[in-house]
């Protein structure tokens, strides 16, 4: 018997999000909540009403945790990661998550806990580091762990490899994938790819969760005729993403949750909040229509494999760390794409596994914009 699919919202401690979602909560449309728990790790006190809201969903097995700041590919282990795991371990005892996920990538900021996640090349070293970190997350939360596909890619080759990379990362921990359909949409638009070819490049049997969101277009100064699609979570869901959802549900036999993600900052007005609810109800309708098409069979639970313990020594890579540090520095400080290109050419990244020579300028420019925006955190 396949699991029923629960539709919900990414609900953080943000008055705009909760105001927008309140009518949906009152009308019992929200079946699950996803919470980015580590956004509040530095807060001493969480309001009781928010805690109670999370507790109701946790008690029903409908609360999922979605980390932001762990940075699974940082090549050097940090004390902050130890603290992050300890806080997750403690939190999960109080508010048990049905599963816990993180983002693919390493944080671009100065200490790898600030900035935006950027991709890494698939090598034996990055794979070993990612597997090591996932095992540690699973050890802390004692529940299924997963990764979300990344919206940003430096190159088409990275996009093509992404699904296979996720499969290799997740297999040892029996992990799952969050398939973010707007992230796929970004890659389709930024690399001129079709949906069918792209979605089937992912191990769809591992998809336990789908994310739906909106985003924005940013003009490229490199190619004036091209707009870059960015996953900014600040606007309505594009029609094409709804169509992608309708096609994807039947492809994912282990699908359990579908979440609508939008930032509270994009939900200031009554009109924006109304659009959010409209998008949510549209998702519910699509799920209702397409869920019966899900293949029957024993649903994958993604339970942790028995007797799997992380080794005492963390896997680290000094060369990769230096490459990440250098890349972050270049992206954060280069004055423009040409400047970044020159700095890459004279760095240890030249002729490396990163294959920076194959990065199109318009995506390098996008990486600069992302890194420089988020270098001080948020």
């Amino acid at each position: 018997m396949s699991p029923s699919i629960h539709t919900g919202i990414a609900c953080n401690l943000d008055s705009n999000i909760i105001t927008a979602a309140l009518p949906l909560l009152e009308q019992e449309h929200v079946e699950a909540i996803e919470w980015s728990f580590d956004a509040l790790f530095n807060w001493n006190e969480v309001p009781a009403w928010f805690r109670d809201l999370l507790q109701v969903f946790a008690d029903a097995g409908r609360l999922t945790g979605h980390g932001i700041f762990f940075s699974i590919f940082s090549a050097r282990w940090s004390a902050k990661q130890d603290l992050w795991l300890e806080q997750l371990r403690q939190l999960n005892r109080e508010l048990p998550f049905d599963h816990v996920s993180e983002h693919f990538g390493f944080m671009s900021g100065r200490d790898f806990h600030h900035g935006a996640p950027l991709s890494v090349p698939l090598t034996a070293s990055t794979l070993a580091i990612g597997q090591d970190r996932l095992l540690r997350i699973q050890d802390a939360c004692q529940c299924p762990v997963g990764l979300e596909n990344l919206a940003f890619a430096f190159s088409l080759e990275e996009v093509r490899q992404h699904g296979a990379f996720l499969e290799q990362l997740l297999e040892p921990v029996n992990g799952f994938i969050i398939l973010d359909l707007h992230n796929l949409y970004c890659q389709m638009k930024n690399f001129d790819l079709g949906f069918d070819a792209l979605v089937h490049s992912y191990p769809l049997h591992r998809v336990r969760e789908i994310h739906i969101s909106g985003g924005s277009w940013e003009p490229s100064t490199i190619i004036p005729t091209r707009n870059i699609r960015r996953d900014t979570h600040d606007d309505a869901v594009p029609e094409e993403v709804f169509e992608m959802l309708a096609q994807t549900i039947a492809l994912c036999p282990a699908l359990k949750f579908i979440f609508l993600e939008q930032l509270g900052a994009g939900l200031h007005t009554v009109s924006q909040q109304s659009q959010f609810r409209s998008d949510y109800l549209r998702i519910c309708e699509i799920v209702k229509k397409h869920a019966p098409a899900v293949a029957q069979g024993d649903a994958e639970s993604f339970s942790p494999r028995p007797n799997l313990q992380p080794p005492s020594a963390h896997i680290q890579d000094a060369v990769l760390y230096e490459e990440q540090r250098r890349l972050s520095r270049i992206l954060e400080t280069a004055s423009d794409c040409q400047d970044a290109r020159q700095k890459l050419e004279s760095s240890i990244l030249k002729n490396s596994a990163w294959q920076t020579e194959a990065w199109p300028d318009y995506m390098l420019e996008t990486a600069l914009r992302i890194a420089q925006k988020w270098k001080d955190g948020f």
């Binding site: 969903f57 900014t232 930032l263 900052a265």
Partner: protein, 65 residues
Amino acid sequence: MKLPKELLKAIVLGIGIAATATVATSCDKVEITTSDCDESCKNEETCVHVLKRQPDYNCPACGMG
């Protein structure tokens, strides 16, 4: 999912308070008060020293923002 009525009431009350205090995960609400800003001009409506971030609410959480 059905939520207890008391919880829904608490959320409504909580949102009212949170509207002014809870910005933990909202990316564009961070304001930087410069060292020039003294106590007399902390009112964000009138203070010329409070540098509001641009209305640009991309978020690193998404992986691309």
